[in-house]
Amino acid sequence: MITETKLLSEHYDNPEFKGIEGYKKLGGYKVLGDALKMDKQKIIDEVKASGLRGRGGAGFPTGVKWGFLPKNDETRYLLCNADEGEPGTFKDRKMMERAPHQLIEGMIISAFAINSPKSYIYIRGEYDSCIEACEKAIEEAYKAGYLGKNILGSGFDHDMDVYRGAGAYICGEETGMISSLEGKKGQPKLKPPFPAVQGYLGKPTIVNNVETLAAVKYIIRDGADAYRKHGTEKSAGTKLFSVSGNVQDPKTVEVPLGMPLMDLIELCGGLKPGRKLKAVIPGGSSAPVLNVEDCAKAKMDYESLAELGSMLGSGAVIIIDDSNCMVDILATIMHFYHHESCGQCTPCREGTGWLNKIVHSIAKGDGRLQDIDLITKVAEHMMGRTICALSDAAALPATSFVSKFRDEFEFFVREGRSKVKGGLNA
């Protein structure tokens, strides 16, 4: 039987875990006490050795990112990226709602390691329940002496605050988030300089995802070697996957990286009776789509999915069965990126607009055969030419949908209706 490996989500079902008393009863804040007695560099080395990679989407090694901070006394900030906006992703919301102290403990340990006096949790504006839960948990942590001056007698001071976003996918991009926190439009900034050198208000800033920061607690608790026992050589640890779409039991699951995709689907109850698997978007809407042949081979880790031309992204797995029209789904995705482009870079602003128009014209039955290649052509001109990755994030699904499901696009153009029974115009 396929089962979960619950490290971060072990106590999700226990409502007591949300409050500080219940959290402490289940071992909460013990790791913080131990960490504060450790050498700061030892914590960074441990995180590096664990192989932990950013769980928000980019998959950059966390310890290496921390290592980019300048070696001086300049004030540095820790920014928790809780702007979960990648379509299909809901794992961070679950954590903030059910285990806010786990995130906060991970953040204090991380802040201590990088010697940061101040951190923010930047939460997307729609997540009212998370904002409430985190604000309450921070208040409790202050009262208990885990935040503020001289934490647990260690001499380390740290303040933490919540910042509410206001509805913009682009603020999940770390420099966009920094712009937003600075009270501006959430437009990304050109890198370099990277935030670790010049971030919030020009000061060194580390931006890490919710799940990443929570994982730090478990790496320090169990040690890097124990953490590495989960997952694969290059994709270490467990990962929270947000599984949705056409599965019987859509939910967040925690499994070791490297689990076969088909096992993950089974873990979520499999497909609905009588339905066949058609495609999977394995890492949020930015990730190139997998067809059935890919799915059979796919393992849920950074390297395996890259080999299949896709990516792990935020771990948002959208299962698509044979009742869906791929033209229709791509139209939904293209509308999203057009809506969310910040407008700063021409290839993205114009490219997402044109992709949206072309795919929608096909989905209305007005497409021409040459439009199918035009999608790929426009997408090619959008990649690698902009300040941030949003442009690529729109181009990648576009090219993958067209190349893997070309027959559906051609059918739609020729017949003016979806190839799928019950699909658009069909």
Binding site: P87, G88, D128, G183, G186, P250, T332
Partner: protein
């Protein structure tokens, strides 16, 4: 002329001191203004906030226009935002939005004639495991059918 309540003014003052930089107070202050202005922010509100915060009007205006959660025109007392992104669409999100629009006799983005309801189609709200879903003001309503959605809206309406 729009003016914040005394409590609202105190809130803005505190926000201006809360962060490392005064500009970080713009987003929270816009939320407050929107709340006190019946759910949306007018140009007049922006001008008012500029004076109150002693920050350039253009800087507040561009923040206001950038983020989708600041409403640029009046909305109903119940702001119904139906997710029509991938997983919700696959599970009937668009039909749900159409059904609610029809029931209230409004087009997407419009306010109903009694001022009670605005229905909009929105992008992913991070609740894909409970698709289809929608947000009504600050609340998430999940695992909906057209019937259960209308039922819950009726009960929210009666609380107004």
């Amino acid at each position: 002329m729009f003016e914040l309540s005394e409590e609202g003014k105190q809130f803005v003052k505190k926000e201006l001191e809360r962060y490392e930089d005064r500009y970080s107070a713009i987003i929270p202050s816009l939320y407050r203004v929107q709340k006190e202005n019946g759910g949306w922010v007018s140009d007049e509100c922006v001008a008012y906030l500029s004076q109150l915060m002693d920050l350039p009007e253009a800087d507040i205006y561009e923040v206001f226009k950038f983020y989708t959660m600041f409403n640029q025109k009046p909305v109903g007392q119940l702001h119904v935002q139906v997710c029509t992104n991938i997983s919700c669409s696959m599970n009937g999100g668009r039909e749900l939005a159409d059904h609610i629009c029809k029931a209230y006799n409004v087009k997407s983005g419009e306010v109903s004639s009694d001022g009670k309801v605005t229905v909009s189609r929105v992008e992913c709200l991070g609740s894909c495991d409970t698709a289809p879903m929608m947000q009504v003001n600050d609340r998430y309503l999940e695992n909906l059918t057209p019937e259960s959605a209308l039922e819950q809206l009726k009960s929210l309406e009666s609380e107004l």
